[in-house]
């Protein structure tokens, strides 16, 4: 039986570290996704999260920086090189952060496959 929390074997060789952070909540996943294309500052992240989720995930400055603090401590993101104004510090994904995004999206893809298969009356095996 497919277990959505169980990493696939091929991922384990590359992302042992990454899998310990799964599953991610929608908020954290969207924050990490917002940083996939490069460094962003707080307000841009907030807007991207809202846009990426079609308005389903909305975060305020408090929740955003609480999450940023946690993500920094877990070394999933880091401050980008300063461009002057300290109030507009930008953040970027670390290598580990990218691995976590890849592992989570892969896990979610498996979940979706399983759900589709189950809905179609299949056996429910993963890809």
């Amino acid at each position: 039986m497919f277990n959505p929390t169980q990493p696939r074997m091929e991922d384990c060789t590359l992302m042992d570290d990454a899998h310990q952070f799964l599953p991610l909540t929608p908020r954290v996943l969207h924050i990490l996704l917002a940083l996939l294309h490069g460094p962003q500052h707080g307000y841009r992240i907030m807007k991207d999260v809202e846009e990426l989720s079609s308005g389903l995930v909305k975060i305020g400055p408090g929740t955003l920086y609480e999450a940023i603090h946690g993500l920094r401590e877990k070394a999933l993101i880091e401050p980008a090189a300063s461009e002057g104004d300290a109030r507009r510090r930008a953040y970027r994904l670390t290598e580990l952060g990218r691995d976590v995004v890849a592992a989570e999206t892969s896990r979610l893809a498996d979940v979706v496959d399983y759900a589709r298969s189950a809905a179609a009356g299949g056996t429910g095996t993963s890809r």
């Binding site: 908020r27 954290v28 707080g42 408090g62 929740t63 609480e66 401590e73």
Partner: protein, 315 residues
């Protein structure tokens, strides 16, 4: 202003967190507020940010008090995803409401078992709530509460600048007002007013009432309609015009008990008989707190007596 207020409310957060992220959070809040278009969007953003601030600050305070291991749940990360206590929920589908309820349950248990911590938590909440109330009060006063005048966004105050004395917002002269009124092309109307408090005779003796002398168009300019009676008419400010006075709702209740018969009754201002012609609602009083208005005669010899400011009605 909003950035400073928001920055001040961050006192609800643990000091280390505030020092690290306070400026960024205030900047993010300020940019977000600036980007919101329309009153509804701005108010929604302020409310959402305030609630968000309260919840995340309480969560971080609780986390720091719990003293949980870094690997478990530093500063709420585990609740947002990761290997922490709650991170094992498949799919990360916990809604914001679920999270809030879980936090409330955990908080209740903590408060019951640790009275000392409960006191600190309550003080923190009191500070946070107080800060939010202060911020929302200001938002209400500046963004939501109506001025009581028609189209208040069209009203502007004009001052005379006196460069040689370095005065940027100075009083103006009657002569200047008459010139401006004659040559005005920028405003739909201009009005002149000055403070004119007066001693009013009552059954209990004389009382000092804050008043204003204004050009007769002042109420039309402000689009203020009287609760009862009328306001000034053209000619009221003439040398031989009737000595009419418009009074506030509050003064009407105090002196006349709110009786409709007050219209037409006489009122002695500084020993001179005046006739009450109208009642104006307290929230439409201009300037705020004014209790009576008399016509300001447009005579140059009156000029040195009062402080004057123009009010313009932008075209």
């Amino acid at each position: 202003m909003s950035r400073k207020l928001y920055r001040w409310t961050l006192v609800a957060y643990p000091p280390s967190f505030r020092n690290e992220y306070g400026d960024e959070m205030a900047e993010t809040f300020a940019v977000g507020l600036q980007s919101a278009t329309g009153l509804r969007a701005r108010l929604g953003f302020v409310l959402r940010s305030g609630l968000d601030l309260g919840v995340s600050a309480a969560r971080l305070r609780l986390d720091s008090r719990r003293g949980r291991g870094k690997r478990d749940a530093d500063h709420g990360f585990a609740r947002l995803g990761g290997p922490g206590r709650r991170g094992s929920r498949a799919g990360g589908d916990r809604t914001a409401i679920d999270g809030l309820l879980n936090d409330l349950r955990f908080s209740a248990r903590s408060l019951l078992h640790r009275p000392g911590f409960a006191a600190i938590a309550l003080i923190t909440l009191a500070v946070g709530i107080g800060a939010n109330v202060a911020m929302f009060s200001l938002v209400k006063a500046t963004l939501l509460q109506s001025l009581g005048y028609g189209e208040p966004e069209q009203l502007v105050t004009l001052h005379s600048a006196i460069a040689r004395e370095g005065i940027e917002f100075g009083q103006t002269s009657m002569a200047d007002f008459l010139d401006i009124r004659e040559r005005n092309r920028a405003f739909e109307a201009v009005s002149l007013w000055s403070f004119r408090s007066a001693s009013v005779a009552t059954d209990e003796g004389a009382v000092w009432i804050s008043g204003v002398a204004a050009t007769t168009n002042i109420f039309d300019l402000l689009q203020v309609r009287p609760l009862l009676g009328s306001t000034f008419a053209i000619g009221d400010d003439g040398p031989d015009g009737p000595r009419n006075v418009v009074i506030s709702e509050g003064l009407w209740n105090t002196l006349f008990g709110g009786r409709a018969e007050a219209i037409g009754e006489s009122l002695r201002l500084d020993g001179v008989e005046h006739t009450v012609v109208g009642i104006v609602a307290d929230d439409a009083a201009f300037p705020g707190g004014t209790q009576l208005w008399v016509p300001l005669p447009l005579e140059l010899e009156n000029e040195p007596r009062y402080r004057r400011v123009y009010w313009g009605w932008r075209a």
